[in-house]
Amino acid sequence: MTTINQSGWRPEMGERCSDNVSTFTGNRALMLEEPLLFEIGRIDATGVDLPDTDMDDNRLGGLMRASPVDLPGLSEPETVRHYTRLSRQNYAIDLGLFPLGSCTMKHNPRLNEKMARLPGFADLHPLQPVQTTQGALAVIHELAEWLKTLTGMAAVAMSPKAGAHGELCGLLAIRAAHDAAGSDRSVILVPESAHGTNPATAAFCGYKVENIPATAEGRVDLAALMTRLGPDVAGVMITNPNTCGLFERDMKKISDAVHNAGGYVYCDGANFNAIVGRVRPGDLGIDAMHINLHKTFSTPHGGGGPGSGPVVLSAALAPFAPLPFVEKQGDHFVLIEEETAEDHHAETFGRMVAFHGQMGMFTRALTYILSHGADGLRQVAEDAVLNANYVLRSLDDVLVAPFGASGPCMHEALFSDDGFAEGFSTIDLAKGLIDEGYHPMTVYFPLVVHGAMLMEPTETESKAALDQYIGAVRSLAERARVGDPALKAAPIFAPRRRLDETLAARKPVLNWQPPVDAMAAE
């Protein structure tokens, strides 16, 4: 018989060692420290077998470099180990609940990954003759049809590379429409609770940005908006559901008022997950809205991108949509590019990206949409909203919900840090959540709420997962209210303690430099 537990430890023997013991390596069993590539790599190490090539004959126009680029390499086993070790220092939706408000961290189905890697999609050049890419164009077209139908809109621009790029697309279409009408309107109105990309995008397109106030219940102040509308206002940017987690009840009235004043309505669709399959933004008078495929349609966030931000457009803005786009002509799919635009699409505002957009994200999003279907997507929205309301009503006795009386929330529950002990703030509760095994919620956004905590559980979470999370937040809220000093030290169990962000910004170190003593020795 083999002895599995060879060290022979039995519970009655008690703890073998304390937390204070340091190790030779700095590692703690499965918690492994990993140096930088530049500290372990060698210039002559490689994980790729390539032949030596004779360079007697070159056609480099006299610009051949004298020596290889100073880039250390690693063999394949070292590479696999380096990145595997790094990966284990990340939290991820695969590990647990990720309630980052407005970011919609939902499960990323692996079928999406498998489909995106089919050689017929992944190993295809964007400039191949269209006769050899009919299936890829069919994917773009099929996804476009879904997006138009789900939103009740006339057209969709598929090429924007991310949400903020989609905002840019929508505002360029609005600006092009005004230009075509001979109007030089110069102002875009943005609610003060808007995401920072909204005013940045408007400014990037050359607009002046003015704030629209909110009502005490956390929605756009319709009366104030109507007062401000006038011949200089090109349009409004409204997030709906909004960043306070509420549906803009007056959305149709807002759209009608803006249209009557000669403007257009841009809707930030970051929170579309709350209403997908249930509400069509087109019914509310929206002229343009981006859809973050990496939120609502489950393409992976990848540690900060790539995103994908198709923009649905009303009939009024459709003629100005960017190039290229896919059109079905009989049984065939064609790409409308610069040369064919004149016949089909003369008013286009132009091209936003080099090729056709985030194809790898289109295949994933379409796979997800087909999996859910119209009925499943509706259930997605309903479960996402139900989960958020469950979190809201399970925590509103220990945390202040500033808009808790404004009706049901949509996809996310918003709290403030009111009631925390002197010197304790949202950041402390957030860092405490890390020790409890969760990614923190969105913190200090929206700016209109003091110490905002924005929690979006998404439809991915089971009731049991929510109950455990709620328990953890309740416990942390109690600690913050009584001012438990231990909470200030959190996180204790993460790969790193709180990091000095001020130092990083004051003396920026943005790439690796060899240690000074090593340089002196050379």
Binding site: F38, L118, H301, F355
Partner: protein
């Protein structure tokens, strides 16, 4: 539904907890005009994994993928062999399903990777600093032109005619709304890049000069005289690299005097993917860093003094500065940056040099052989892994006929510059390490047949 954990009884219990009689009660704020009973009409219902896989696989088979045939396309997207470990590692859930590293204590994996990536890009481009990536090369190029406006307080950009026409289009789209003046032209089929024309176009109002290196026809312009001329007039030199593998063999743009270097990182680790997602590279001199767009990762220490990494200099960015931000960008191409980082780690400087030499040798072999096809002329006197041929007839239909013969034979200039009669016979041919002698022979034979 396989992705939804709530059971019907969970939902009943939870609705009771929130005080709602039914799910519809949670949507009472939606105006009646937008309320839909039941699934939105005209769309199919949910499907099994097997059914979806069958549908997607069928569509994928209606494409001719690059691996199936002799393949010679480039013009801003290049087919290189990607080691198997790259795709394996980027699919680790901790990388794939993480968010932007806003909570650095539990995102050191992504942050350290970005710090390594920034260091690699800076060294490859010969610059002091690089950011954590942009959407793609074309958008990075426009961001560089915007940045030059902020640095120089001037708004006239001179574009080399060797700049990728899609990059020019993207810049033109934006400049129409920002008021920047762009000086641009289409290339001609000459052996050398348009260095003299570019230098002559620089004046005191010029904010920047934008030069692709190697350019759209595959020519390698010497950046030094352009840098000198730009600097003499207070303008910046922006170099654009669409094929970073080239820098394994030719001198870096930073070394030749470029102030900002941007590029498309797709050719390392990312794959073709029919045009996206790709990877915008962005690097510059240190003195301009506070005008740089995009995310930056920086080194710092934690409360115990251990080294760690955070996103930094965010006072440039939209979530702090709102309408005064350097850019509206709110994302990078994180996972593509990881693929690039891993591929370059596997190569190392030595491996990159070998890969580049191999590419150049394959390209010389192909150019030599194709120039022997009757009526075909090689335009370039210099090139890396891509060159331009002048055919005796319009190239676009030739490409289609070659595709019928299962040869993907390059990118016609007619596609890139529609309506331009001077360029219609031009064909841009890229030759990487994935191209075999048999592929070159098959291409040459088919070309001869199609041209006959």
């Amino acid at each position: 539904m396989r992705y939804l954990p709530l059971t019907p009884s969970d939902r009943v219990e939870m609705l009771a907890k929130v005080g709602a009689g039914s799910i519809d009660d949670l949507f009472i704020d939606v105006p009646d005009v937008a309320q839909h009973e039941g699934p939105i009409a005209g769309l199919p219902l949910h499907a099994s994994e097997m059914a979806v896989e069958r549908h997607m696989t069928k569509l994928s088979r209606q494409n001719l993928s690059a691996a199936e045939v002799p393949f010679f396309l480039g013009a801003g997207a290049y087919r290189h062999h990607v080691p198997a470990s790259v795709d394996h590692l980027i699919q680790r859930g901790e990388f794939l399903t993480a968010y932007t590293p806003y909570q650095p204590e539990i995102a050191q994996g992504t942050l350290q990777m970005l710090f390594e990536f920034q260091t690699q890009v800076a060294r490859l481009f010969g610059c002091d600093v690089a950011n954590a990536s942009m959407y793609d090369g074309s958008t990075a190029c426009w961001e560089a032109i915007s940045m030059a406006r902020r640095v120089t307080k001037k708004a006239r950009a001179v574009l080399s005619n060797g700049l990728h026409p899609h990059y020019v289009s993207v810049a033109q789209t934006m400049a129409r709304f920002t008021g920047d003046a762009l000086v641009s032209d289409v290339p001609d089929l000459s052996a050398e890049a348009d260095t003299d024309r570019v230098i002559a176009a620089i004046d005191d109002k010029t904010s920047c000069v934008v030069v692709q290196y190697p350019d759209i026809l595959g020519r390698i312009p010497d950046l030094r005289p352009i840098a000198d001329a730009a600097h003499a007039k207070g303008a910046l030199l922006i170099a654009v690299v669409t094929e970073p593998v080239a820098l394994g063999l030719i001198r870096s743009p930073g070394e030749l005097g470029a102030d900002i270097v941007v590029g498309e990182g797709q050719s390392l680790g990312v794959g073709l993917q029919f045009g996206g997602p790709y990877l915008g590279l962005f690097a510059c001199k240190e003195k301009f860093v506070r005008q740089m767009p995009g995310r930056l990762c920086g080194e710092t220490v934690d409360a115990e003094g251990k080294r760690g990494f955070v996103l930094t200099l965010s006072t440039r960015e939209q979530h702090i500065r709102r309408e005064k931000a350097t850019s509206n960008i709110c994302t990078n191409s994180g996972l593509c940056a990881l693929a690039f980082n891993i591929h370059l780690t596997l190569l190392g400087g030595g491996g990159l040099a070998k890969l580049a030499k191999l590419n150049h040798a394959r390209a010389i072999a192909a150019a030599t052989r194709l120039a022997q096809v009757p009526g075909v002329r090689l335009i370039n006197s210099n090139f890396f892994n891509e060159f331009t041929l002048e055919l005796p007839k319009e190239a676009r239909p030739v490409i289609r006929l070659l595709a019928d013969r299962e040869i993907l034979g390059g990118v016609s200039l007619g596609r890139l510059y529609p309506g331009n009669d001077q360029l219609g016979q031009g064909l841009v041919v890229a030759v990487t390490e994935t191209v075999s002698d048999e592929d070159i022979e098959a291409f040459a034979a088919a070309l001869q047949e199609v041209l006959a």
